[in-house]
């Protein structure tokens, strides 16, 4: 099949259109869904096409509308709810954790909650501590929820369709900086599984298990590492709950070295679960202690200058790989450092000019 290149944001939009065409019980609601900005462009034209009875803006009532979507889901609709920032979901934890996650368990058949919640995580220009969090760990801990974090345009489409078709509540997390990435996206309606990680680059020396946007930095690092004859294996984790430990373990059997990359804080993050799971099941294969590369345990600062040390990027990934391999050649280390982006690091690229 010839390549058909779409951005991640376009892939999400296409998935939404196709899912709504496929099943007329799918509805979409979120603050800004039908507005001129259309959730970073991911819902453009949706209300025009499917009408105001299937595509809704919403009052600023995150907990209430989450509950309303649970009720609508119990009644047979398949709501897709959208948050412009995951930070706003903290208002809805009661409905998500006490209700959505428990309903099927409590009430069995007839109480499935086919609810999908899209939320945008991560960095933006000057968003600061209340608008740039990566809270996947809070959901990853909760039985009864599924949590996915696609990192490619292909998965963005396929997993969103998969999430809408799934009968469980699914939290679908999009890193702000992934929206612009592009990739091959078939035009047909396809659902990707909500389970399973994917090895996206083969290598025998170090396993990199990467979540969400950190996959992009991993790839940048791996390309340079390859020029140094260092071959890393990269796993796109894709799913936070249930975690696919098998794929990680298989890779570790080969490499014996583990680097976990997450967009969130370290302590109590999902990166800890990966390290713990690998240690429990494959300690004998580990050649050295695993390493986590994450945010420091601090709220996100706003000033551009402060974000530079806050967010690890490709050079930190490369440096971590070198340390795992005990490579201390100064030339090589300098090469890793040279991966550092020039210019402001509070934007994904120079096209990004705020104000959002």
């Amino acid at each position: 099949m010839p390549d058909r290149i779409l951005s991640y944001a376009e892939a999400i939009r296409e998935a939404t259109f196709q899912a709504m065409e496929d099943n007329d019980q799918v509805i979409v609601i979120g603050e800004g869904v039908p507005d001129p900005k259309n959730i970073f462009g991911t819902t453009i034209g949706l209300q025009e096409k499917f009408g105001p009875d299937r595509v809704f803006d919403m009052p600023l009532s995150e907990n209430g509308v989450t509950g309303i979507c649970i009720g609508a889901a119990q009644a047979g609709l398949r709501p897709l709810m959208v948050h412009q920032r995951i930070d706003f979901m903290l208002l809805a934890m009661d409905q998500l954790v006490n209700h959505a996650a428990k309903w099927h368990f409590l009430f069995g058949k007839g109480a499935e909650i086919p609810l999908v919640i899209r939320a945008i995580i991560g960095r933006g220009w000057g968003q600061g501590p209340q608008h740039a969090q990566s809270l996947q760990a809070l959901f990853a801990h909760i039985p009864g929820l599924r949590v996915v974090m696609p990192s490619s345009a292909y998965d963005a489409k396929g997993m969103l369709i998969g999430a809408i078709n799934d009968n469980n509540p699914v939290i679908f997390l999009e890193h702000r900086w992934l929206h612009q990435i592009t990739g091959n996206v078939p035009s047909n309606y396809y659902a990707e599984s909500l389970e399973g990680a994917k090895v996206i680059r083969k290598g025998a020396m170090v396993t990199i298990a990467a979540f969400s946007y950190m996959l992009i930095e991993a790839i940048r690092a791996a390309e340079w590492l390859a020029t140094q004859d260092i071959e890393v294996e990269i796993i796109d984790m894709r799913v936070v709950r249930p975690l696919d430990m098998d794929t990680v373990l298989m890779s570790i059997e080969k490499t014996g070295r583990l680097l976990v990359l997450d967009t969130a804080w370290k302590t109590g993050g999902i990166s800890a679960e990966i390290v713990a799971g690998v240690t429990e099941k494959a300690m004998k294969h580990l050649k050295c202690a695993p390493v986590r590369l994450t945010l420091p345990d601090l709220p996100a600062p706003t000033a551009s200058s402060l974000t530079e040390t806050y967010y690890p990027e490709a050079e930190q990934v490369a440096e971590a790989v070198l340390r795992l391999l005990d490579i201390d050649d100064n030339n090589v280390i300098a090469g890793a450092k040279a991966l550092a982006r020039t210019g402001n690091r509070d934007v994904p690229n120079a096209d990004f000019t705020g104000p959002f």
Binding site: N63, G67, G71, A75, L77, F105, F107, G108
Partner: protein, 304 residues
């Protein structure tokens, strides 16, 4: 109503045997609201409730044996033994769930009503809740959404003046609950929740208004809980309620009131016969529940 009273009394009476191993919030004294509202509903209509839900479940037609089995933690319980008294359900009769996070089921009910509207169903959704709900933000978010989208939902507030041991005046300022609902743009009525005829009349009228496209309706009924907040006992000796308050409400027992109304309208009713039937049904339900199998360990994994 009498049946519900006797069932709740039986739960209270046998609770000390410690075979119903879950908190129970009994409805004795508040039966008229459940019965009056549910009698106005169609089979197809949906009901949600909260922690104090036995009466709502039974009034909507819930299976007695499945309720008692649920209290006993049995596989045949209405929630498969995973829920206990605080989490009950019966999809067959349109009882879509009761759970004990205060106000937690309110938005869920509004969502079911939203679905009914979007799916062009004529069903309406009723949500039962207590006065405490008005302190929870999500109650207000739910009223706002229901009014905004003009949803077919009937809000029923059982105002019994207390949340656990705390009276209403310690939790809410001096203002009316139904007036606050009105200010949200939801048409509201308040009145005597111990008069089943009144409750039923108001419910029927409100349901008519919903079917007429007048949007969500709100009913606030004053009533009183006779027993302790949670558990089988009378705890009036603790002194958290005014002296004589319970007695004055007991004088206005919803069942006595209803019997009086029936007599007045000279409907013949052999109370003794009725009591006998109810008693037999209750004994059988408890026996069945007690003998039933516990849930198979591990079976419940499929639901998470």
């Amino acid at each position: 109503m009498l049946r519900i009273r006797r069932i709740e009394e039986a739960v209270a009476q046998r609770y000390h045997e410690q075979e119903m191993r879950c908190p129970v919030h009994l409805s004795i004294g508040q039966e008229a609201v459940a019965v009056g509202v549910c009698a106005a509903l169609s089979d197809d209509d949906i009901v949600y409730s909260g922690h104090r839900s036995h009466a709502h479940y039974l009034a909507k037609g819930g299976d007695l044996t499945a309720l008692i089995a649920e209290l006993y933690g049995k596989a045949s319980g209405c929630s498969g033994g995973r829920g206990g008294s605080m989490h009950i359900v019966d999809h067959k009769i349109g009882f879509w769930g009761a759970t004990p996070i205060v106000a937690g089921t309110v938005p869920i009910a509004v969502g079911a009503a939203w679905a009914a509207k979007l799916q062009n169903s004529s069903r309406i959704v009723t949500i039962f809740f207590g006065d405490g709900c008005f302190e929870e933000g999500v109650m207000h978010e739910s009223l706002n959404f229901a009014a905004l989208h003009q949803l077919p939902v009937l809000f029923v507030c059982e105002n019994n003046g207390y949340s656990v041991y705390t009276n209403l005046q310690s939790r809410q300022p001096h203002r009316s609950i139904s007036a606050l609902a009105s200010a949200h743009g939801v048409n509201s009525i308040s009145g005597d929740g111990n008069d089943v005829m009144f409750v039923n009349q108001q419910s029927s009228d409100a349901i008519k208004r919903i079917h007429n496209g007048e949007g969500p309706q709100f009913l606030e009924f004053s009533t009183f809980r006779w027993l302790e907040h949670c558990g089988p006992n009378n705890d009036d000796d603790l002194g958290y309620r005014d002296e004589g308050e319970l007695a004055s409400w007991q004088e206005r027992c919803p069942i006595e009131l209803a019997l009086g109304q029936l007599n007045a309208s000279s409907v013949a009713l052999d109370q003794e016969d009725v009591e006998k039937d109810i008693n037999a049904e209750i004994i059988s339900a408890f026996n069945t529940a007690q003998c039933a199998d516990p849930p198979v360990v591990g079976d419940y994994c499929e639901y998470a």
